[in-house]
Structure formats: structure tokens, C-alpha cells
Symmetry: C2
Subunit: 417 residues, 2 copies
């Protein structure tokens, strides 16, 4: 009867060195978001399949780990589909559970409700370097705030967090779904093609304007529209003030208040001290179809891809509960931030770690004194671990030092005089 030593395919054990950084990040998250009035909540890891497969999860719905029915509910021989075998699964994000949580507990929640969630989610993705099938997500959401105070608080809270962990020179890009739509209208795309256009536009980072334009052409979205797209984005690229430029170009296609709103957010959530930039990016799309207003995304230095993002999703709660309640959220890439901190050799602000090496068979009287000493030292904030002294003491100390012990005290049955 031997155990399988490895975790399940695509999952991982987290060792003490990484856990120290994770615990530290979690405590910084709880403290910082807490100071902005976000309150922690938690939902079960297991959700009903009906909720998980309600079409809000996009491609993630194909990656669900399903949980086998139990007892009388399970009829293996008659089963023909996965739904015959399973009615629940592991959550793939924290958004579907949040919406369920809100509708289940609405009467007991503050309005606006400012939620903080940190926890594991599961996706049966093809395992690859740095991507796991179980990983943490960290989301903040504001439910019930229709105005730009929500976006402002979300961006300020998240940038304050990143600053406190020590990140500098990062950029938060911001756009608005309404601006995207009016640009598409201005270029002459048909409304039913907007989503296709946005998916292509989203690739600007990777394939550049030339690539985007040729993909639009090849997708049969209209030659005229693809030309207009090329012109528009060339102008935007060369403009010092792209938002102001759009304001005049799009005057006929967009409510003026949309651009005013975005300007207010950029002004209020921007960072005067210059630790980060909050800037308008007309090519920012954010994948999920449920966004309705401002969308935003964080980029840190050389890490090409996003380390977090979010936006306003005013219609999602209505879709689930029938009530028209506005909502806005920001999700930080918890695992990505951990990876960056590990690669930087980040050191958590730390205390002294003392090992008390105690000779074997120490009499109880003397041991009692040693324990008192340890308990006193612990009260001063030091970490004290009592360890039986090994025969090869030198090797033992080298090894303990390698694992972070910063000092030793040795205790012998017959004190050396």
C-alpha cells in the first residue's frame, strides 16, 4: 500500500518558502482592501452545474471538474450523458458564485455591497508551465453603485495594494465598451458584427494594426469598414490626446456623458505621485462579453500579459435575478503576482527565527526552565522552535540555517562550564 507521491496532474503542493509570500500577500490584500471598506465573503468550492453552465463563463464552462452524484441519485448503468452522472462541479471563477451569493443573501448585505473574495478555482486546462488546474483568484466587486465612484474605488484600492507590495511604474489601461461600440459604428460595422470586431481588436498587442486590419478584411467584415478602422487607429496612435480626439470624431455616435465619465475616472483614480499611470487605451477590449461600461487592465513592466483587470457588468445580476442592479469588479492575477514576487526573490518582512537545540533526555525540571525561556522569547515576536539536538550538530545547524533559522541556543544536560 504505497501512496502516489505526486499531486494530481496539473495541481501542485505549495512549499513553505512560497507559502510565506502567499500568506503575506493575502494579509496585505485583506488589510488594504479592508481599508477601502471591502468585506470578505466566502462561497463553497462546489456549485450546482446549472449555475456553472449558465453561459456567463464563456470557454471556462468546457473546463469544469464535475462531481459524481452519490447514493440513490447515481444510476451508473442507465447513465448516458455526464449530466446523468453529475449535478455539481468545482467553480471556475468567483463571479458566478458572487452573483449567486448576492441573490441568496441580499437582505443581509450592505448596499452598495463591497465584496472581497480570495480562494481557489479549478479549470481542467491543459497543464503547462506556470498554469495550474487549481489556482487562487482574488476579486473585489461593488454591487449597487451606478456611478463612477465604483470604478474609482476599485482602481484606487488595487493600485494602493500594488504600491504597498512594492510595484512601481505599472500601467492601468482603461477604455469603455460604449466607446468601442461607437468606434465600430463610426467605422461602419454592422451591430451584429461588433463582438467579432472586438475579438480581433483585442489582438492589437500581439499582431499590431496591420495584423488587425488584415484579419478584419479576411473575416469578411467589410472592406470599407476595415479601411476606416485603419485610418482611425493610425490617427489615434499619433494623437497626444486620443480621448479628446475621439470626443470630437464620435460626437454623433456617443452620449457625451460616457466620455466625461471616463475622464473623471482617469482624473480621480490617476496617480499624482507617478507610481503608476492610468491611461486611456482605445484598443482595450477585455474578453468577457458581459461588460457594459468602463473596462480596465493592469500591466506591470516586462510582463507582457495582464496581471489583473475588470470592468462594469451592469446587466449580469438582472439576467440571473430579474432585478436591475449595477455591478463593477476588479480581479487581480493572484498567481501571476506570486510568480513575479518569487522571480524577484521577494523577501517578506521577517522576524528572528531561533532554534533551541536541546540535548536528548533532558530532565523535566530543566526542560521546564527552557520552555519558560522560549515562551518569553515568543512574546517578544521572535519565532522559537525547540528541536532535539542531533548527533551531528554541525550538519543540523547548517541545514537549519539553510531553511531560514537565524540563530541558535544550545541546552545541555550538564552545562558546559
Amino acid at each position: 500500500m504505497t501512496l502516489t507521491k505526486k499531486p494530481m496532474n496539473g495541481m501542485k503542493d505549495i512549499l513553505p518558502a512560497e507559502m510565506r509570500i502567499r500568506d503575506y500577500l493575502i494579509s496585505m490584500i485583506k488589510e488594504t482592501y479592508g481599508s477601502f471598506g471591502f468585506t470578505s465573503i466566502e462561497t463553497p468550492v462546489v456549485e450546482s452545474l446549472g449555475n456553472l453552465m449558465s453561459k456567463q463563463g464563456g470557454d471556462n464552462e468546457k473546463l469544469i471538474f464535475k462531481v459524481l452524484k452519490r447514493g440513490e441519485k447515481l444510476h451508473i448503468n442507465e447513465a448516458e450523458t455526464e449530466e446523468d452522472l453529475s449535478d455539481s462541479g468545482l467553480r471556475y471563477d468567483l463571479t458566478v458564485p458572487l452573483v449567486r451569493f448576492f441573490s441568496n443573501n441580499e437582505n443581509e448585505l450592505q448596499r452598495p455591497f463591497k465584496a472581497l473574495q480570495i480562494g481557489p478555482v479549478f479549470r481542467a486546462d491543459r497543464p503547462q508551465r506556470g498554469r495550474f488546474r487549481e489556482f487562487y483568484q482574488c476579486d473585489i466587486d461593488i454591487i449597487g453603485e451606478p456611478g463612477n465612484l465604483a470604478e474609482t474605488e476599485l482602481i484606487l484600492a488595487t493600485s494602493t495594494l500594488l504600491e504597498r507590495i512594492g510595484f512601481k511604474g505599472f500601467t492601468i489601461k482603461i477604455n469603455d465598451r460604449e466607446i468601442l461600440k461607437s468606434m465600430a459604428a463610426y467605422c461602419g460595422f454592422r451591430p451584429e458584427d461588433y463582438d467579432k470586431v472586438f475579438i480581433i481588436l483585442d489582438k492589437m498587442d500581439k499582431i499590431g494594426l496591420e495584423g488587425v486590419v488584415s484579419e478584419i478584411e479576411n473575416s469578411g467584415l467589410g472592406e470599407h469598414a476595415s479601411k476606416k478602422t485603419k485610418e482611425l487607429f493610425e490617427e489615434l496612435k499619433n494623437s497626444e490626446m486620443p480621448l479628446e480626439m475621439l470626443e470630437s470624431i464620435l460626437a454623433d455616435h456617443i452620449d457625451k456623458s460616457v466620455i466625461e465619465n471616463l475622464k473623471t475616472i482617469i482624473r480621480c483614480a490617476g496617480n499624482a505621485s507617478g507610481v503608476y499611470n492610468l491611461e486611456f487605451d482605445p484598443t482595450l477590449v477585455r474578453g468577457m462579453g458581459y461588460y457594459t461600461g468602463p473596462v480596465f487592465e493592469i500591466k506591470i513592466g516586462d510582463f507582457g500579459s495582464s496581471v489583473g483587470g475588470g470592468g462594469r457588468y451592469d446587466k449580469m445580476i438582472e439576467k440571473f435575478t430579474g432585478q436591475d442592479i449595477p455591478a463593477c469588479g476588479f480581479s487581480i492575477g493572484f498567481e501571476r503576482i506570486i510568480t513575479i514576487l518569487l522571480e524577484q526573490g521577494y523577501k517578506v518582512p521577517d522576524k528572528k527565527r531561533i532554534a533551541y537545540l536541546i540535548e536528548k533526555n533532558m530532565p523535566a525540571d530543566r526542560l521546564l526552565e527552557i520552555i519558560s525561556e522560549a515562551q518569553e522569547e515568543r512574546k517578544t515576536g521572535n519565532e522559537v522552535s525547540m528541536v532535539t539536538m542531533a548527533k551531528n550538530k554541525k550538519f543540523q545547524k547548517t541545514r537549519l540555517e539553510a531553511e531560514g533559522v537565524t540563530g541558535f541556543k544550545e541546552f545541555y544536560i550538564n552545562p558546559i562550564l
Copy 2:
């Protein structure tokens, strides 16, 4: 497309008020156990079924939530048993994962390795009041320490934690599996019946000595042995110093060092200040069959059942990995402690919570000033939440107060002079 509002049967949403206590307890656990040199680790929620069903989990192995195989591995039409459909499941405790973790990462771990685990486990138990199908466990374990320093540190660390949370007058009971065995030998039971005898003895709390003796008789474990059991436990009950009494009675049946060892633990991990009692209890069994030496259990005041327990399980790692490595652990009843704290109306040491009520459509210039003020106030440790002022301000304030807001500031577009 409406969502199921309720969590899955037997699982629960955790609301802000409870989360505040949970977060506080977790931070106290990490801080206190950290000061004793325990380091946090984490393992995946999903483990291989082979590991979960390796006969260490007792009855819990019947309560596993199994995860459906995916893709090419899943053949629904040919499936006849659950094992055809599933090769992994949700963990039901943190001990099996710890042993797997240790054998997977042994070379990178300190020796002795002092692990702290806090996390969700899953059991498909019949849901009932206060018992859920997903709940947190919190375990500390010391792997590689053969001597009583391990038991002493585990008991000291746990009692220090309980003291810090504010528990007083609790009792930690301690016994040793070797003493149980030698008592059974002394009474004349056959070695192959010991486990049965211990299961009955474990009920002493509920059915009393009379009940225990009659159940032993009815189980056909020998009339003579049941008489001796009655005599022995009556003597122990009336004895002021039961451990010393056993030392002389059992002299022929037990290695003297076992009782010496227990005396040292009681002396060293006992509490001089009288906040708790550490006392020998010859009827303490602890259910799991894998214990090999000292076992212990915490009882708090009126809460009849245990709020935590543990013991030495020196043979378990060998069973899994072939290596003879001693181990000892203590598990606190995380959910039970939360329940007690909630029932006591426990208040987490708290900061000021200020709501900034901001009139709708506040101009950006003025909003920027308000935000600066909020950011400064957050730095002082206060919680500040910016909220759009409602039409019915009085109702809004009453509601925010009910949810824990302790103060307000109001901001108008045209300041009231």
C-alpha cells in the same frame, strides 16, 4: 435562465460578520503557531482516489465526493463501478495529504518538519445543524521528532492560541496508547480484542462505567476481563494520583519509560498560571487506529464534545513510504471554535469604519480632494468607504450603521454654509 440561489445541499455561504471572526482566527493561528516555528503549507483540494481510499481515513472513506474523469478517460457506456468513472476526489481531511506532501517534497523540508495547514475539507455526511459538507480543518504536525518535545510543543502552541483568543478554564486530557494496551493486558483481554475494547472504553463519557462494563460483557469479550475492568476503573476513579497508581499496578505490563514520558509532557506542557488543566485521563482513546503513543483532546467548559485533539502516529509514514519516520499532530476544531465565538457574540478588535456620503454628480475637481482626504484617513488605519449619497439619506445612514459603519462624513456639490 435563473440561478439556483441556495448553495449545494449541506454547504454554506459565509457572510461578512462571520468572515471577520474567521479571518481574525486565521491570523491568530498563523501568528501563534508561527511563533512556535510551524510553517504553512498547502496541498490541492483534489487528491487521487488511491490515496484517499488507502484505509487510513476510516469511515470518512465512505463520504468522499468523487470527481468525474474527463475527455478520453471517461467511457460512460462501459462504466460499471464508480472507479470506472472517477480517479480523484475531494480530500476529507488534511492528514492523508500531509503524508503525501511529505513524501513528495521530503528533500526540501526541514527536519523536524513542523507543518501548519488550514483549509477546506469535504465529507458527504448527512447535513445537520452545525455540520456542513465543506468545512475548514486546522492541523499542526511535527514530522521527524521522536521524543516528547513534539507533544510538548503541540500542546503548548495550541493552548497558547486558545488563551490568546480568550478561552479560560479549559482542559486538555492526555493518555497513551501503550497505557491503554497494558491496561487491557492487565485486565486479561486478548490482544486481538484490544481495538474492540478501546472503542467501548471511548464511550465512558456518555454511558458511564456501568454502561462500559455491560457492553464489554455483552460483546463476549470475557467475563473475567470485564470484572477486572470494573475494579480497575473504580480504583482509578477514586485515586488522587491515577497515573502513579497505574505505574505500580501495571509494573509488569509496561515499559517504565512510557509513564515517565507522559509525566514529563504533563509537567512541561501543563499550565502554571492555571488558565487550563493538562490532566491524565485513562479513559481517553481517540478514535483513529493509527495512533501509537500519547493521545490528547481539548474540552472547553460546557461544550461537551471535543474542540480538538491529536496524538503520535509513528507508523503511518512508514506504511506509505517505507521509511520509519516518527510523527505527531494536533488538530483543532476550527468550525467548532468559530461556532463558540459566534454564540458568545465575540467582537474582533476593530478599527473605525467611516462612510463618506458623496452627493451625486460631484465635479471631478472636488471629488479629487475628497479622495485625497479618504486616502490620508486610510493611512491612519481607519476604514473609509466612498458611497453615493442616497435620496433618503436618513434611511441610508441607519442601514449603514446597522452594518457596522461607525461614522459619516457628508460631501455636497454646494457646501452648506
